[in-house]
């Protein structure tokens, strides 16, 4: 397909950087602005850009619908699971002090895990919404 050549080339350059930036924002949410919500939206924007330029079939080969459904539920489960692990370690629900030997390290670990869960759910919900609207237009 020779159509939209400029768009395809520029997108191929930009999309990996967008996805990388999303991952950076996810894991550096402790030290600067960022965190799970922003990272999820940026990551989803990268995938949606791919879907807009290369078509719904191609993007559904990269991120299949079953994976999207799994990730939507998986993020919430990860978040709730961290709380249950805190309870199993002898403290109250979602108390991160008991996740490691040192309370401050426990807090760091807990925040990292739940932000990752939040990022997974937000990204897959945005991609799922895009699949829903784009898929409907082809019926």
């Amino acid at each position: 397909m020779k159509r939209h050549l400029v768009l395809r080339v520029v997108a191929k350059l930009l999309i990996p950087m967008i996805l990388l930036f999303g991952l950076y924002v996810q894991f550096h949410g402790d030290y600067g602005p960022g965190g799970g919500f922003q990272a999820g939206v940026i990551f989803a924007a990268g995938i949606i850009l791919y879907g807009l330029i290369f078509g719904l079939d191609m993007v559904q080969r990269v991120v299949p619908t079953g994976v999207v459904r799994l990730l939507i539920a998986g993020g919430v489960l990860l978040y709730a699971g961290v709380g249950v692990i805190s309870m199993l370690n002898g403290s109250t629900y979602l108390d991160y002090d008991v996740l490691a030997d040192d309370p401050v390290h426990g807090q760091h670990l807990g925040i990292l895990l739940i932000e990752f869960g939040v990022g997974m759910t937000v990204a897959s919900v945005m991609i799922g919404i895009f699949y829903g609207f784009a898929g409907r237009g082809q019926r």
């Binding site: 602005p33 965190g35 919500f37 999820g40 939206v41 937000v122 919404i129 829903g132 609207f133 409907r136």
Partner: protein, 120 residues
């Protein structure tokens, strides 16, 4: 009576009333959802302007600053923005299905179609 320190609330009220007007005066369902989005943005502005402290800076701990803006409204609005877009998407999905079922997105045509269905 017109204090200069209150103008941020008036901007919020103006945006809120614009969104409210769009919701109640238009019959097109898509425009109603756009009006709700404007309303949502005005509420975000209300909370964020209430959290700002004069001479404060962004709430990230650093040795160079002592006064920080209030982080609590930021937390609430952060999640509210993403939740707002998810619920707007749900509303627009409903509008798309309504269009497929009734053939229109104007609310009075939908009400008329429902009355005709009730009569038959």
């Amino acid at each position: 009576m017109f204090e200069p320190g209150l103008y941020n609330y008036w901007i919020v009220v103006f945006l809120m009333m614009t969104g409210f007007f769009v919701v109640i005066s238009r019959g097109n369902l898509v425009k109603k959802i756009v009006g709700l989005n404007i309303f949502q943005t005005s509420v975000f502005l209300l909370y964020i302007t209430m959290g700002k402290v004069d001479e404060g800076t962004a709430p990230i701990l650093d040795d160079r600053f002592t006064a920080y803006s209030n982080p609590l409204p930021h937390v609430l609005i952060l999640t509210a923005i993403v939740v707002g877009v998810a619920t707007s998407a749900l509303g627009l999905a409903l509008v798309v299905r309504i269009r497929e079922a009734y053939g229109t997105v104007e609310e009075d045509e939908i009400a008329k179609a429902d009355e005709e269905d009730a009569e038959t």
